[in-house]
């Protein structure tokens, strides 16, 4: 990689700067928590209960986000090494190892400030078994109380009344009492409803942004750019005024790009002509994020839809948080997260993306250390290929372990995939003629 190029400041649009400031402010607030006395809960992105936490004035800390932020800042290699030294094997989820290594190194967050110890470990279990093991380790370390929310898997591809009741009962009998105890406040349903109403508003705008990729050219990259767009709503801001303002502004910014007929903006500037429209399944690699994105952008490949931007909530199927049924809506939200969907539902979603976004095909980034995502991916690839008639591609990398990002190999496969699409188009054109 050209170091000089890499050091060039990344190009950002105004929404991205705003988003960055919001997240930085949250980290500073966390860092000051021991002085201000604010209480915090460690919790996960999929099935997060941010509105509920906010209604108790509890601050969320999201270990996966810390891990990916550490990776983007080049710190994950050392953190992972520390965790491996402590006995965690090479096959363990690298988010976990990165988080444990960070903890071991003084729990210094991505902005360079120390993160507070948890007052509550809110374990929302949505499809990833590792989450339980992760918090078992944190419980040993911090001696903090654990509130577990067991979210039933959508094995049959639907949410039944008994599943909903099962989650609501846990919220009412386990989670809310735990939050009351830690925060010293009583459950305030009116406040929760206000939060949820704001969530729904922001979710409307988020969906409009994601669906803007139906335009040609797409004004956004719904994977690499998408991770910035989902940042606030997947982390600490769902239900907040800041989130409402951010998504309003973001939507306006994107609508302006559509009006001007512009493609996405990448860290290296405006993208050239759109040549390929791709749907991507699986999380991105974070250690070489910019280089990874460049491999797409340089070939004129835009990601028009991705499953990863649905891990913290699926909204483009019509789901919105509904303030009139506060606990039920939270239960439905948790059960509807992408990783909690069964494989046929995931296939349906990806097929719909390929068709509705008029994509050239599905590309899977298979993550070495993530069983939750990787299981079934080859089956999904074949299914989507068969049902759409569009070619599939398969690459492999990892979340935050730089040792698993082989640039030459990934570039080789990506270029082959794009050329394969090109060839297929030429073949179709020739037969049509």
């Amino acid at each position: 990689m050209n170091k000089k190029e890499e050091s060039k400041a990344a190009q950002k649009d105004s929404s991205q700067i705003r988003q960055k400031n919001m997240i930085a402010a949250h980290y500073s607030r966390l860092a000051r928590a021991p002085e201000t006395g604010e209480k915090c809960a460690y919790t996960f992105v999929p099935g997060n209960l941010t509105e509920l936490l906010r209604s108790f004035d509890l601050l969320p800390v999201l270990p996966e986000i810390n891990a990916l932020q550490s990776a983007m800042r080049g710190k994950s290699r050392d953190y992972i090494r520390l965790a491996e030294k402590a006995g965690h094997s090479e096959d363990v989820c690298t988010y976990v190892k990165c988080d444990l290594g960070m903890m071991e190194s003084g729990n210094i967050g991505p902005t360079g400030e120390r993160l507070p110890d948890p007052d509550l470990l809110l374990l929302s279990y949505t499809g990833c078994f590792t989450f339980m093991k992760w918090f078992e380790i944190l419980r040993e370390e911090y001696d903090a109380p654990v509130a577990m929310l067991h979210v039933p898997y959508q094995g049959d591809g639907e949410i039944t009344d008994s599943m909903r009741k099962y989650v609501v009962d846990q919220l009412r009998n386990k989670v809310i009492p735990a939050m009351e105890k830690v925060s010293g406040r009583a459950y305030d349903e009116d406040r929760l409803k206000e939060e949820l109403a704001r969530s729904a508003k922001a979710e409307d705008d988020l969906v409009a942004v994601l669906e803007s990729a139906r335009n040609k050219p797409s004004p956004i990259d719904a994977y690499f750019g998408g991770v910035y767009y989902i940042g606030p709503i997947f982390t600490a801001f769902r239900g907040s005024e800041e989130a409402v303002g951010y998504y309003e502004a973001l939507r306006a910014e994107i609508e302006e790009r559509v009006r001007l007929g512009k493609g996405p903006i990448t860290p290296d500037g405006e993208m050239g002509p759109e040549k390929y429209r791709i749907v991507v399944e699986g999380p991105p690699n974070w250690t070489s994020f910019r280089e990874f994105w460049r491999m797409f952008a340089e070939e004129g490949a835009v990601v028009v839809a991705s499953s990863y931007t649905k891990v913290g909530g699926v909204y483009d199927n019509g789901f919105r948080h509904d303030p009139s049924r506060p606990l039920e809506t939270l239960a439905e939200y948790c059960m509807g997260c992408y990783t909690n969907l069964n494989l046929p539902s995931r296939v349906d979603m990806l097929v719909r993306y390929v068709e509705e976004y008029e994509a050239d095909g599905l590309l899977i980034n298979s993550i070495k250390s993530c069983n939750s995502f990787s299981a079934g991916q080859l089956m999904m690839l074949r299914e989507v290929e068969n049902r759409t008639g569009k070619p599939g591609g398969f690459i492999e990398s990892d979340l935050v372990d730089p040792r698993y990002f082989s640039a030459a190999n990934i570039k080789n496969r990506l270029e082959s995939y794009f050329q394969m699409i090109e060839q297929k188009r030429a073949g179709v054109a020739a037969r049509g003629a």
Partner: protein
């Protein structure tokens, strides 16, 4: 006919660089191969140069037949001519080696004993050339580096001992010089010069051969375009629009060799590819090994080094096995340790080798399964396809897992990628012309 337009495909691999030259009808004119070296540009130049030489030999043959020379006679004449031609080529490179080594000796103001030792080695090598290229002789490699290297090292060893000169110093001299020699492009008129000299050596050659050589020598060869592919693609010395993915090239190349091909397995030096193609040779799906090169050709290279064998000797030895050892790991890094452990357990070399070959193919079978399985017909390409033990293991595992399938292996399979690249080049040209 005074000029001929041709199209070049080049496959820059980790071990060898291959080139295929097509004529305007998309027919193969010639093939060339050389060892990949530090300078990619030269490697590509040499490979294409070799393919053009091969093309010219083909044209000479065509011309001879046009002059009424019979098939058998034609073959005999060409074989004799090519042998003499290769000798001239070798001599020219040996001259370059001598000049280069002497230049290095001068620059270093080397001890007279060392100079004398090096001179003796080189003049002996010069004397041996005729023997090396004698009628009926066989050579272990076609690459100057290997041929000259093996003679130089063995002569240097006895010279060093006899004269009390450090052997390492003589070896270092060769290693330095060969890099320079390899990267010297051949002279512009090398074909004409070598062909004429070769003809002069052939006693009693019919007049027709001289006429055919003259006609081909006068033929102006015009490059219509080139497309490159291969492992070193990021650094290929071609403009971006002339670079094609090796996966697509292998798919198209295999289709051109065997039009019924639906599944392709390519095991090269550093990667293994499983490719599915449609009835037009268009790739529909592929899988390849990730950053780990376990089970690729390089693995066999390490095993050969570890056993002190030549790469080409592994397969035949493995074929002697009656009781293959079961081996699971094909980790290239641990290859040596695995081998030594097996030997220390008293396993026979051929049984271990048979097990290793099977392990490589098992890994390839997993990639094939992931790419969508094996469809009829199945074409096996890459350097490992030349290895009989690997092919046997493959046949067995294909039958076990997919039943009876037609398995194609071409003697020219090493040129599959280059052929695909050349076809892409030729197609591009045709499309532009049509438009």
């Amino acid at each position: 006919m005074t000029s001929l337009r041709y199209f070049v495909g080049i496959d820059l691999g980790s071990t060898t660089t291959k080139s295929v030259v097509l004529d305007e009808e998309g027919r193969i004119l010639g093939r060339g191969i050389t060892n990949s070296r530090s300078n990619y540009e030269v490697a590509c130049e040499v490979a294409s140069g070799e393919a053009l030489i091969d093309a010219r030999f083909g044209l000479i043959e065509r011309d001879l037949k046009g002059r009424g020379v019979g098939e058998e006679e034609c073959g005999r004449l060409l074989k004799a001519l090519e042998l003499r031609f290769r000798e001239k080529q070798y001599r020219a490179q040996l001259d370059n080696l001598c000049v280069t080594i002497r230049k290095i000796l001068d620059e270093r103001k080397e001890d007279p004993a060392v100079v004398l030792a090096a001179d003796t080695v080189l003049s002996t090598m010069n004397e041996e050339v005729s023997e090396l290229y004698a009628e009926g002789s066989s050579r272990k490699s076609d690459f100057f580096r290997d041929l000259a290297g093996s003679r130089y090292l063995s002569l240097a060893e006895s010279e060093a001992r006899g004269r009390g000169v450090p052997y390492d110093l003589l070896v270092g001299l060769y290693d330095k010089a060969i890099l320079e020699v390899e990267n010297m492009p051949a002279a512009e008129d090398a074909f004409a010069a070598h062909a004429s000299a070769a003809l002069a050596d052939l006693e009693g050659a019919p007049e027709a051969l001289g006429d055919a050589i003259a006609a081909v020598r006068e033929l102006e060869m015009i490059e219509g375009g080139s497309v490159g592919t291969g492992y070193g693609r990021q650094t290929l010395p071609f403009p971006k629009e002339s670079i094609r993915s090796e996966i697509l090239c292998h798919g198209l190349g295999a289709h051109a060799m065997f039009p019924g091909t639906r599944t392709v397995l390519d095991i090269g030096g550093q990667d293994t590819k499983a490719i599915q193609v449609d009835e037009n040779g268009i790739v529909t799906s592929f899988q390849m090994n990730d950053r780990c090169a376990a089970g690729c050709g390089r693995y066999l290279g390490y095993i050969a080094d570890e056993m002190n064998l030549g790469l080409h000797e592994l397969g035949p030895l493995a074929c002697e096995s009656n009781r293959p050892v079961k081996i699971n790991s094909t980790c290239t890094v641990f290859a040596g340790a695995e081998l030594r452990e097996r030997l220390s357990l008293g396993e026979k070399r051929e049984d271990i080798l048979a097990g290793l070959h099977r392990a490589i193919i098992l890994r390839a079978m997993s990639l094939l399964a992931r790419s969508g399985g094996i469809e009829d017909e199945f074409t096996f390409t890459g350097g490992v396809a030349k290895n009989e033990a690997a092919v046997n293991a493959l046949r067995e595992l294909v039958r076990e897992n997919y039943g009876d399938k037609t398995i194609n292996i071409s003697p020219d399979s090493i040129y599959t990628g280059a052929l695909g690249a050349a076809l892409f080049c030729w197609r591009d040209h045709r499309r532009t012309r049509a438009a």
